[in-house]
């Protein structure tokens, strides 16, 4: 008994040293990520905010004197900024639901059990790993009004020739088509896994109860899938707000400003017009709007998950 106690007391300091040591070890897992992201992510964001409240000094190429809200007021008065936001909105509002619906629809199709299912699933990876800038350039060729193969084929069914990059509406359609081509496979792969994970017996039960195809879809499949659909939407949203490469390669914002999404607009203002202070102000506005919306979507998808 006494030896036991002695051992305890002797062990105590070591254990306390062990505990601080353990705390260090625990933190050592996080520290590299925290450091890197602080330097490369947090600091640039603060620097952007700093620039957005300053007059940009082109001689020192840095933030000059403090000007308060001046840059923000200027940006808010700039109709091109609003126009670009509107274009971005149109793109997001059409492309996101379209891709999610198409993705789940195609997943349903390619999940049909047959010998080639694995192959088709694998093939759907391919568009997903085509660099967006390549996708933009490639489709620019396919959609070319004069020599493009799509217009040639559309001619057979009496459509066109469509001026894909000369007409504002068609140019937006082209951008959405390219983006949908590039990103739907990503949703297909997620949806395929989600569909395979659905419990089979629920569908058997619905069939026995005489539910038709439509009501099975709406009252059985969709409620079961809602969490995945919501999660997919959020992931796709996070990618879509970064829309830049495809537009740059396919339309460069044109014709006029018809496809000039906000990231391209800010890029141009900063690196072509060297209006860094105004670009920083726009970037901060876009940052806040995206953060708020991302937070809302995350909250919404959590709520939906609880609901279903």
């Amino acid at each position: 008994m006494s030896t036991e106690l002695a051992k305890e007391t002797r062990a105590a300091p070591t254990r306390r040293r062990g505990r601080t040591g353990d705390l260090l070890v625990r933190w050592s897992f996080m520290v590299p990520a925290i450091l890197l992201l602080a330097v490369m992510l947090a600091y640039p964001i603060f620097y952007t905010i700093d620039i957005s409240f300053s007059r940009f000094d082109l001689s020192s190429f840095g933030a000059g004197e403090w000007v308060g809200w001046e840059n923000y007021i200027e940006v808010m008065d700039d109709y091109r900024f609003w126009e670009s936001l509107r274009v971005t909105m149109v793109y997001l509002v059409i492309a996101l639901p379209l891709q999610v619906v198409l993705g789940f629809g195609i997943a349903f199709l390619i999940n049909a059990e047959w010998a080639g299912r694995g192959l088709i699933r694998a093939l759907f990876i391919i568009p997903m790993v085509v660099a967006p800038v390549v996708a933009g350039g490639m489709w620019r060729m396919i959609l070319d009004p004069l020599w493009g193969i799509l217009n040639y084929w559309l001619g057979f069914i009496g459509i066109g020739p469509l001026d894909w990059f000369g007409d504002p509406t068609l140019a937006m359609a082209a951008v959405i088509i390219i983006d949908t081509w590039r990103w739907t496979p990503f949703i297909v792969l997620i949806a395929t896994a989600a569909l395979l994970a659905l419990p089979k017996d629920v569908f058997e039960a619905a069939k026995i109860d005489g539910a038709n195809w439509w009501s099975t879809l709406w009252s059985v499949a969709v409620p079961l899938l809602v969490p995945v659909i919501a999660a997919t939407f959020v992931i796709r949203w996070l990618g879509a707000v970064k829309m830049f490469d495809i537009v740059l390669a396919a339309t460069y914002g044109g014709p006029g400003k018809a496809t000039n999404v906000i990231n391209l607009f800010i890029y141009e203002e900063a690196f072509r017009s060297l209006r860094f202070a105004e670009s920083a102000a726009m970037a901060v506005i876009v940052l806040i709007v995206t953060m708020v919306l991302t937070g809302l979507f995350l909250y919404g998808s959590r709520k939906l998950e609880e609901l279903f």
Binding site: P44, R140, I190, L248
Partner: protein, 286 residues
């Protein structure tokens, strides 16, 4: 002919709809693959075979565009740059991100959850908000046009990505694994290296490959932070695509495009099984 029994009728109907589904699936796959096929095909055409009506499917293939363009636009150097940057940022991010993901999944640290949420939110940060200050700082420090700058810039979106994928991966492993190892006298790092990493190898590898692909195709940071020395392939493609407004240099576009796409496709198909499960888990359990 007598009326078929109801059960047979039912079976025929499902098999028709099944057949329709299969055919629809094949049709959609062809639709999605055709653009890539067309790009690769065009890259082997001579200029005279590119601009034709009707578009040519049969022609005498040539490597002319490849040979010409490999020399002209520094494609080889850009390829090397892209490989360096993709491998560098992929490796950096998998190590740093997986460690943080492991910490979020398994180790109790005060404040870690908040940090995790912040990082999740950071995936919504528009890269343009980072590109402007990064450019200015890099310029001031003389770090523009260097591989390391791009590698660090890419880690801003790769680390959060890896962290969240690996966190859900680690969460799916049974806790007893490390617990028993640590009872047996392993340190935290010992348990991680001896037990967790070997089991997680498929997940780690698919995440690494996906990170490298994301870095391989990145455009905005490369456009802003490099100009000659460390410039990557996507920048070249953006340049060629921009040229088509006047020149329509489809040969170059498709050749460089094919060079960019083919290695990634081969890579992705090699690990497709892991990629699909990794993706699905990241989405459904994130």
């Amino acid at each position: 002919m007598s009326a078929p029994a109801p059960s047979t009728a039912h079976r025929t109907r499902t098999s028709t709809s099944h057949r329709l589904r299969v055919m629809g699936g094949i049709a959609v796959s062809i639709l999605f693959l055709f653009p890539i096929y067309w790009m690769v095909l065009t890259s082997f055409k001579q200029q005279v075979d590119i601009f034709t009506t009707p578009p040519k499917f049969l022609f005498i293939p040539t490597l002319e565009t490849y040979i010409e363009y490999m020399q002209r636009a520094d494609i080889t150097r850009r390829l090397v740059n892209t490989i360096i940057v993709a491998a560098g940022s992929g490796l950096l991010s998998i190590v740093v991100g997986a460690m943080a993901g492991y910490a979020l999944a398994r180790i109790r640290i005060r404040g870690a959850a908040t940090f995790g949420l912040l990082i999740l939110l950071s995936r919504g940060v528009p890269p343009i908000a980072l590109a402007v200050p990064m450019f200015l700082v890099a310029r001031k420090l003389g770090l523009t046009d260097k591989h390391i700058t791009l590698i660090l810039a890419y880690s801003t979106f790769l680390i959060p990505y890896v962290m969240w994928l690996m966190r859900s991966f680690f969460l799916s492993l049974p806790r007893e694994l490390e617990e028993s190892a640590m009872i047996d006298g392993c340190s935290r790092y010992g348990a991680l290296f001896k037990i967790i990493i070997p089991i997680s190898l498929p997940g780690l590898l698919s995440t690494l490959i996906f990170s490298m692909i994301l870095a391989w195709e990145e455009l905005l940071f490369a456009l802003v932070l490099t100009n000659r020395h460390a410039s990557t392939i996507p920048v070249a493609i953006a340049g060629i695509a921009g040229d088509t407004v006047n020149g329509a240099n489809w040969g170059a576009l498709t050749a460089v495009g094919t060079i960019t796409v083919v290695p990634v496709v081969v890579f992705a198909l090699l690990v497709q099984k892991w990629l699909i499960t990794g993706l699905a888990e990241g989405a459904t359990k994130g």
